[in-house]
Amino acid sequence: MNPNAVLSPGTPENEKAPTVSHGKPISTQMDFLRRMLSQPKAVIGLVIMAIFILMALFAPLIAPNDPNKYVGLPHQPPSAEHWLGTTGQGQDVFSQLVWGSRISLLIGFSVGILSTILGLVIGMISGYMPGVVDGVLNMFTNVFLLIPGLPLLIALASFLPQGMVTVMLVLTFTGWSWPARVFRSQVLSLREKDFVSASVVGGEGVPRIVFSEILPNMLSLVMSSLFGAVIYTIGADAGLAFLGFENVNIVSWGTMLYWASNSSALLQEAWWTFLPPGLCIALVSFATTMLIYAMDEVTNPRLRSEKEITRVLKKYKIGSSRSTPVIKETLTH
């Protein structure tokens, strides 16, 4: 163009790159944890969860007596001696609640993890492998998705030998298909990304691409799937127990509900026999949901900016309007 336009070439690109803080992927685990902990939702969720975990861990200290022991007259309301009263069988409700948390949480977490892993394996293979493999696995997944969960649960639980392993198997069996579907979609879209093609061109083998390149990009999805699976499991487990398909001599929140129903607790107006376990189940689900929301907000910058907007508007005392507000203020340099 202009013949005078000759610049002395300097060393290009040796500057400090622009540091971008908003809307970019979180690069380190520390960064992620820090952001999570600054969300009130995450803190609430973590605190509640911690309370229950501690309760389960320290059950022998908190409620030292055998929860199955007969300790008093049936259906006694809460008192100083029995903090949550007694069940229809004369057992201590509080003791049962504390010990029951162990089983419920154990099943919840272990099955949550198992079904997520199973869903991950099937979903990732299905998503990355084209053609027949995907077709078969996908159909398999869809079949499991379509079958109604509760009837399948009941059908399986009714002919398998009763026990905790059965429960875990049955719940995993019915719970893996939803995460598998979600993971498959994610892998399908990630597979088309340039960095995957770049790995292929670089000579990377398939297992390494799937686990080292694609999987790390799915971590937040895996986490939220895991939490979702936990919620599902705790609810499904309680449901199975309530319907009597589990070994009702094991103390868990679900079996407490079974016994409460069996003893006509509603008619007896013995609310202390079913309200506490029900509430605990709800609270654990609530805590997990809070963690999911918090994670969503940390990973999705758009949700975060909603809060910032209201904060800025409040600071300048502007009502929300559709047009960009104008504030004439002296700029500080």
């Binding site: 000759v6 610049l7 540091t19």
Partner: protein, 285 residues
Amino acid sequence: MVGLAGESGSGKSTIAHAILRILHPPALITNGQVLFQGEDILEMDEARLEQFRWSKVSIVFQSAMNALNPVMKIRDQLTDVMLNHGLTKEESAKRAVELFNLVGIDPRRLDAYPHQLSGGMRQRAVIAIALALNPPLLIMDEPTTALDVVVQKDILEQISSLREKLGFSILFITHDLSLLVEISTHIAITYAGEIVEHAPARELFENPLHPYTLGLMNSFPSISGSKHKLTGIPGSPPDLVSPPTGCRFHPRCPKAMAVCSQTVPARKQITADHSVSCHLFDQYQ
């Protein structure tokens, strides 16, 4: 037609949105005036703004293909804005046909959905929508960047002929300086949110003053003429969260002096219509 040239982080799109006050929160406008035919847009209230937008100033967005609603017919999107500004259904229907004829699309395509039109036609449709109320000013934010070069030329010719026919002004925003030199009357160069040079197009091309302008010119290989080595501009685009002190271009400027990192250069009028903000010209007024 005034061209606004700049790269990423230059603020050119932000200026366009700010003029119409359609920046998303938490953006705030903190100073200045935007005088349109004597009236300050920044002082207008919500009601006046709604009246003002589209009838006085309209905008064609970057990637306007995405600005079209995929589930509405083009006709409805066109008449939508007209009905909002008080035209009757018959008037707006008639105007829709008129507009499509103006931009060179067969009016029978009015009943199509956006995905049924090609990229170039969608862009023309968006231009038709922008011209619906015959505004005196049209802002075009990278209207042809996503299009192939042949279609781009087509659309630019169309815009030029429309401008001659209807007499509106255009603020044409793009990063393609060579394009601007071809089509605009005046050009303003933006860098890191500031305007660093402003001149008539030919004058800018023949006599660029700001080192950034010189660098930009040195970034476009030419299709004709002698081949010589081009260098572009070293360094990275500016960080707008913590911009460089003083003149924002100084980290990348081959002619930077000590004063450049300390004070922001004032805008100096070199000739009647050529101004520049650079310490190299401190001796001017």
